[in-house]
């Protein structure tokens, strides 16, 4: 009896000692990560909040309350940039998702080696640098009749277009570029998810006499719902932060037709040095992204288990 009572106590002591040791080791292992995080992520986020209520000056900023926010909301360019961003997102994200899904379904019956080859081909643009690709696309969109795209469409009798220079086609040019270069990741993710579906579901469906489309509708699409949601949410988040293509390809023009929120914030900060305004707008952007993600989870996330 006495022995039995003793056992847990010694175990407890040992456990306690182990715990203390583990604490020290744990903190030692994450120390560098934590310091880097605190300095280059946590501190900037807190700092952004403070700056957004200030008129930033290198030597002593001035507190101006909500002025940056009020100015932003009454700024027509801000609303235009939000509209542009939404248009860009609506045109790119669903199409990219659909293309990736279709390609993944088509790759599926091929041999392993062919699958890998296609995965590599489609992923290649994601490996190339964005700047290099934008340089190339600039020349594809060359407004001269000798430009590649104009030449190509000339074969179909479509006359010369000033792709990036006209406000009616500039946005579409950026969208076209996204369609053809930003599907690599989603294709690979979709394919991995497709390969993860258990064969027994198809076997059961075959016994019931289901055809290809039925299997697609009743097995594949429900099974890929979590993957689709993941790609949708990350796609929208990414699209709302788009900056580089707009900056490098059109600079936001013509007539601000391609000024996205990301570019507007960049311009306010590093062109006009209005750090306070830029910080306020970046926080509004964060709030928009957070609410859209929340809505997506609410509407599309039903019946999904993780």
């Amino acid at each position: 009896m006495s022995q039995l009572a003793k056992v847990p106590t010694t175990a407890k002591v040992a456990k306690k000692r182990k715990w203390r040791g583990d604490n020290a080791w744990g903190y030692a292992f994450i120390a560098v990560a934590l310091v880097v995080y605190a300095m280059f992520t946590a501190y900037p986020v807190v700092s952004a909040f403070i700056i957004s209520f200030q008129e930033y000056r290198p030597l002593g900023s001035v507190f101006i309350g909500f002025e940056n926010y009020i100015n932003t909301f009454s700024d027509s360019l801000f609303w235009k940039s939000i509209k542009n961003t939404i248009v860009y997102t609506v045109l790119t994200v669903p199409v990219t998702l659909f293309l990736s899904f279709a390609v993944a379904i088509l790759i599926l019956p091929l041999k392993k080696r062919t699958q890998t080859a296609f995965k590599a081909i489609y992923y290649l643009p994601a490996v190339a640098s964005g700047v290099a690709l934008s340089v190339v696309w600039l020349w594809i969109f060359d407004p001269m009749p000798s430009g590649i795209l104009n030449k190509l469409l000339g074969l179909f009798g479509i006359s010369n277009l000033n792709w990036l220079g006209s406000s009616s086609t500039a946005m579409f040019s950026l969208v076209l570029m996204a369609w053809l270069s930003s599907h690599g990741t989603s294709i690979i993710i979709y394919l991995a998810a497709l390969l993860g579906i258990d064969v027994s579901y198809y076997e059961a469906a075959d016994l019931d006499g289901a055809n290809f489309l039925k299997k697609l509708w009743y097995i594949v699409i429900p099974f890929l719902k979590p993957t689709t949601l993941f790609l949708l949410v990350t796609g929208v988040i990414g699209s709302f932060q788009v900056f580089q293509n707009a900056y490098l390809m059109t600079g936001g023009g013509p007539d601000n037709a391609t000024t996205m929120v990301g570019l507007l914030i960049f311009n306010n900060a590093f062109k006009y040095f209005e750090f306070g305004k830029a910080a306020a707008q970046s926080l509004i952007l964060a709030a928009i992204i957070a609410s859209i993600s929340f809505i997506q989870f609410k509407f599309f996330g039903k019946n999904i288990e993780y």
Partner: protein, 286 residues
């Protein structure tokens, strides 16, 4: 049976189906690869002004003159590549070391506040980079006053939350029994880490290294912000200079673009498995 009919016995049906699928896929691949193809083909053209050249989809002749033109154009052309290599290299090494350590701690060491700290870290992945860009710029340029140095280029990327997340996900699948065994054998945590965890985690370390290197090599925004002389720029920023300073020289521009993309293409084709594996981590339940 699978999603597609096997067509056992009806070889012609299967053959026709797979061929039409291949044609569709190749057509889309053609559209996807066209910009890259166009970039490489055009880079072999002569370095003449754009108006004087003919845009062709097939190389009339292969000349390396445009590459020479690119390197002669600026005395810093080589330096840009070297800078990119230095920055991407150090960020990669540091990410692999510190993210592996943190990933191990978050997945296998039970310390106080582990869950809370990890969720705080994860929050960072949901914050748009626009929020941190202004304060980060002020921190580096006005407070630390280290703009235009390697430190400014490297420090913010020393450990990224994504790398930690990646390694943590991977290490969660290492059985605890192995670690318990090592403990019984008298290993302390550091020895366990070096002798048990690191050998078992080579895959995820390779994936982290590759993704970090790619990210860092291709990044344009941060080096563009914190460098202000040509000799400190990375290749991506240098390329942008080149294009705005010299928009009429088409072939050398394509040569520059090819040069900036080539290291990643080579890495990709030699380490394809790790690249493609890295994409699915965190996205697909294994």
């Amino acid at each position: 049976m699978a999603l597609y009919k096997k067509h056992t016995g009806k070889q012609t049906v299967k053959y026709t189906r797979n061929t039409s699928i291949m044609i569709l896929l190749l057509l889309f691949a053609l559209a996807t690869l066209f910009p890259i193809y166009f970039m490489i083909i055009s880079s072999f053209g002569d370095p003449v002004e754009a108006g004087a050249m003919d845009y062709s989809l097939w190389p009339a002749k292969v000349s390396l003159e445009s590459y020479k033109f690119f390197f002669d154009y600026s005395e810093h052309s080589y330096r840009w590549l070297l800078n990119s290599l230095i920055v991407a290299g150090s960020v990669t090494v540091s990410n692999v070391i510190f993210a592996t350590m943190a990933g191990y701690a978050f997945s296998k060491i039970r310390f106080k506040g582990r869950a809370v700290l990890f969720s705080i870290l994860l929050c960072a992945m949901m914050i748009p980079y626009q929020v941190t860009q202004v304060p980060l710029y002020i921190l580096i340029v006005n407070i630390f006053e280290i703009e235009n140095t390697y430190r400014a280029l490297i420090m913010p990327g020393l450990v990224t939350v994504y790398s930690i997340f990646l390694t943590k996900q991977f290490m969660s699948s290492i059985p605890n029994e192995i670690i318990e065994c090592a403990k019984v054998e008298g290993c302390n945590q550091f020895q366990i880490f070096l002798k048990v965890i690191v050998p078992l985690s080579k895959t995820v370390m390779a994936v982290t290294a590759i993704l970090t290197f790619m990210d860092s090599w291709n990044t344009f925004f941060w080096p563009f912000l914190v460098t202000n002389t040509m000799d400190m720029q990375t290749i991506q920023v240098g390329l942008k200079n080149f294009r705005f300073a010299n928009t009429t020289y088409f072939a050398p521009m394509m040569a520059g673009a090819t040069i900036s993309a080539l290291p990643m293409f080579i890495l990709f084709f030699s380490l394809q498995k790790y690249f493609l594996e890295g994409v699915t981590v965190g996205a697909v339940k294994g």
